[in-house]
Assembly symmetry: C2
Homo-oligomer: 512 residues x 2
């Protein structure tokens, strides 16, 4: 057998292993989706065990020595191929996942998962009782386990390996100065906006029947490019996106009948995630390349559609007449300009998920800094609520009414870990602006097309430049390829300044 | 370590293995349920692969030598324990499944599964085109593979191993004389009934809106004992029951708006299957004992509730006022006696799934005999349609209009295999009558309780005597334990004679 055909045989062997792993992972996702959407409560206990078992099998398969051997054998083949070829990328990314997975002892992962489940339960209780002390011992254990997880990897900063798990290539030494600059730019903008009279958004808080809200949301994402032949939408308390294969990508949304924006922008947000997963190149199906490349890039796709497109004036020039037609009683006397202002109202609020796009990153950066301080041992869990409230006062000028609206508002630390949990959101916002700028630079007609309800131009560009590649390129590689520049805060700041100085009657230009 | 604690450790090890296998099997079932209920069409290809992979893993795990070793090591432990103890039963039944699974080469199973998928596709096409020749070559291959599957087991009759896969302990030498006697008894009864003027069941074929039909069906099965905290109902083209754990048992139904009985009795039928699965003892959860013990026993539970209870006069004394209340326009002038007759109309029809409980077994026994003839090599696939039509003429006095309403009406031979596919239905009818007779003998108040809408008495008795045991006992063992007698056709014949001689104005007693 020639070397090439030997390599091809081994490559096929590797692919066959990955297809099995993908089936296990996809099954775990389906079981999770089902648990959140349709499962009767009686199924809870067994379902947890079933998902854990599938994940264990997937982990065992991925860390099997035979994969390591195949990856070793395929090294010369990989090196003989172009970096961006499917084959080289598949070998490279699989090796990265393999090496990452083999560093962590399975027993440790099982222990951590078990702790996450009980910690989550404690958080649910603590949050409903507004009593941080209930969850505190669990969070202390989570911190200990998060540090232990990091310790299985080499690092410069202890948070680096945890960040790297979801945002590969990002480190504290990159993110800290980036975020610090972003905060410096954002705070005066927020001050300027919030010093002028507040926008009246009461038009959004009338009675909007559930079914019509859902129907409109579906229309919108279908127009944007969501393929209902290869996906569906359901209603859950917390919206999320899951992908079981490139042909089966599902989103969920939630609906409040006294709030028009919650369901609509959740749907567009998840729709953005889903376009990414539906757009992955079919040749990557069943391999580890068939997924989003990082938390930041994934979030960039959801935020791009939710905010840059979905909260733009042009978008509503297109969709507002339809929305008015559906909710005639509620909106017939509300002009599009007023609606546009209402959906873009900037306000300093205590809750991250309610935050507008201007203040949102301030919320994230507070969490990022506190994560680092805890991992560094500079902040004890017992002092976390106080540190949280202090930072909110300093950065946003408000103090949460209680710990449920403060330090316990997000599930991440309580259900997952401390470290790597939040930077992806702000990265997403930055990357979205940078990518959109790149898209418009290549296709200046994109903005006019959106006003005319034509989203194909933008969607196609994103598909070709981002979606299709799946995990072939890291976030940093993608950003460089697509925009010709490394990650920067400038496009985001430019976008915010443009949009909000046009919208608000600010005295003089917004400070840059 | 003492022998006992060594055994207990090994027993626990075995249980841990089984919990993993159950998780894989349950995941495959969830994926299958999802495919039938909610999956977008784009997911089809990947889903097939995912389910196949999970089943492969489950098979690999079950046939792992370590299981064989544990079973060997546990033999003395098993023998030291009572036959019906959970421990002894678990070891015994696991050994049976292990031995069965290890006999069949994994490669053969993969080949067979693949063939089943393409054969199913061919059947869908052939049926819609009413052209048997399209599916014939696939069915010939299925016959060959079915024979090969049987050949991995020792047997007296080549169909025995295939029957044993789903109805353990049943053989051709038991079933053939049993069925022959049944046919002899049934044919004159059918003749007697169909010689008197036919019942007018047009009241069932008015317009019945879907939502109200579904709601009524849910009410009925909830009253019977279906626990919606541990199950749910959805709508699919072909009704089925699936169990993912004892706390999560789901049924599906279908609704025709011009037919009141289709959805109702499908729902009760699947509800009966579900009561069985929901009633399994919790200590069996996650093991191979947590399931129905045979096709026949499972079918006995669905048919008992569907026919013996659900088509009884007493049942409708209780439910008919409610049904009339919902469908006032359609039923207010239809007295309960007329409704009762309509839902029990006996008619010689070409389609099994439309058949009443009197003619139903004649349909089944035709299929059973043809299966045996094909497996024995006495009937070639090419001659099957003719043989089918001849038997229908002989046994039911009718000839199907075409092969789609004849030999191609059921999916079983085309999507699964030839052999073991049909005896379970007739066994189910026989066992249902025998078990119900046993239940009433122990609790004579059961029939009155049903008239009063109290189903707890019967449900509780079935739970204690059948459901709770899961797979601890074989069908034959269960029937003997519960009724004190081996399987017999007498209770069924008695039931049919009683019910229908009361209902029809027959000249003289029905011949016995």
């Amino acid at each position: 057998m020639s070397n090439i055909s030997l390599f091809q045989r081994k490559y096929q062997e590797l692919k066959n292993c990955l297809i099995k792993i993908q089936a296990l992972e996809a099954a775990a996702s389906v079981l999770n989706w089902d648990q959140t959407t349709y499962m009767p409560t009686g199924g809870t206990y067994a379902r947890g065990r079933q998902i854990a078992t599938l994940k264990e099998f997937a982990h065992e398969e991925l860390t099997d020595q035979s994969i390591g051997q195949l990856l070793e054998d395929l090294r010369p083949y990989e090196q003989s191929l172009p970096y961006g070829s499917t084959e080289a990328s598949l070998i490279r990314v699989t090796r990265r996942d393999y090496e990452r997975a083999t560093r962590v002892p399975p027993k440790f992962m099982a222990k951590f998962c078990q702790h996450q489940a009980v910690s989550y339960e404690a958080w649910v209780k603590a949050k409903s009782l507004k009593d941080f002390s209930i969850v505190r011992p669990y969070l202390e254990k989570t911190l200990e386990l998060s540090r232990e997880l990091a310790s299985f990897f080499p690092y410069k900063h202890i948070a680096d390996p945890l960040i790297d798990l979801v945002d590969e290539g990002m480190t504290v030494s990159i993110l800290r100065p980036l975020f610090s600059k972003l905060r410096q730019k954002l705070r005066p903008i927020v001050e300027a906006i919030t010093s002028v009279p507040s926008i009246d958004d009461s038009c959004l808080h009338q009675y909007y029947p559930k079914e019509q809200q859902l129907q409109f949301g579906c229309n919108v994402i279908e127009r944007i490019g969501f393929d209902f032949q290869r996906g569906r939408i359901d209603v859950t308390p917390h919206p999320f996106t899951s992908s079981f294969s490139i042909g089966d990508v599902r989103i969920t949304t939630r609906v409040y009948e006294d709030n028009l924006t919650e369901s609509l922008f959740s749907t567009i947000h998840e729709g953005g995630h889903a376009l990414y997963e539906q757009g992955i190149g079919l040749e990557l199906e069943g391999t580890l390349l068939a997924g989003g490349t990082s938390s930041g890039i994934h979030e960039s796709q959801s935020r791009l559609w939710e905010n840059i497109v979905g909260r733009s004036r042009g978008f509503w020039e297109c969709f507002y007449p339809q929305l008015q037609g559906i909710f005639l009683k509620q909106l017939s006397s509300v002009p599009v300009s007023q609606f546009y202002q209402a959906i873009n109202k900037v306000v300093k609020s205590p809750i991250r998920t309610d935050a507008d796009e201007v203040t949102y990153n301030l919320h994230i950066m507070i969490r990022f800094d506190l994560e680092l301080a805890m991992l560094e041992g500079k902040l004890a869990v017992k002092d976390l609520p106080e540190a949280w409230n202090e930072r909110y006062k300093r950065d946003l000028g408000i103090v949460p009414a209680n710990d449920s609206q403060g330090v316990m508002q997000d599930v991440h630390w309580y259900g997952e870990m401390i470290g790597g949990m939040f930077q992806g959101y702000t990265l997403g916002n930055l990357i979205a602006a940078q990518i959109y700028q790149g898209a418009v630079k290549h296709n200046p007609e994109i903005t006019v097309a959106i006003e005319q309800g034509n989203f194909t131009l933008l969607h196609k560009w994103l598909k070709q430049n981002i979606h299709e590649h799946g995990r072939k390129y890291t976030a940093n590689e993608l950003i460089n390829r697509v925009t010709g520049k490394p990650l920067s805060i400038d496009p985001f700041i430019d976008y915010i300044q443009d949009k909000y100085s046009n919208m608000y009657d600010l005295k003089g230009p917004i400070p840059a």
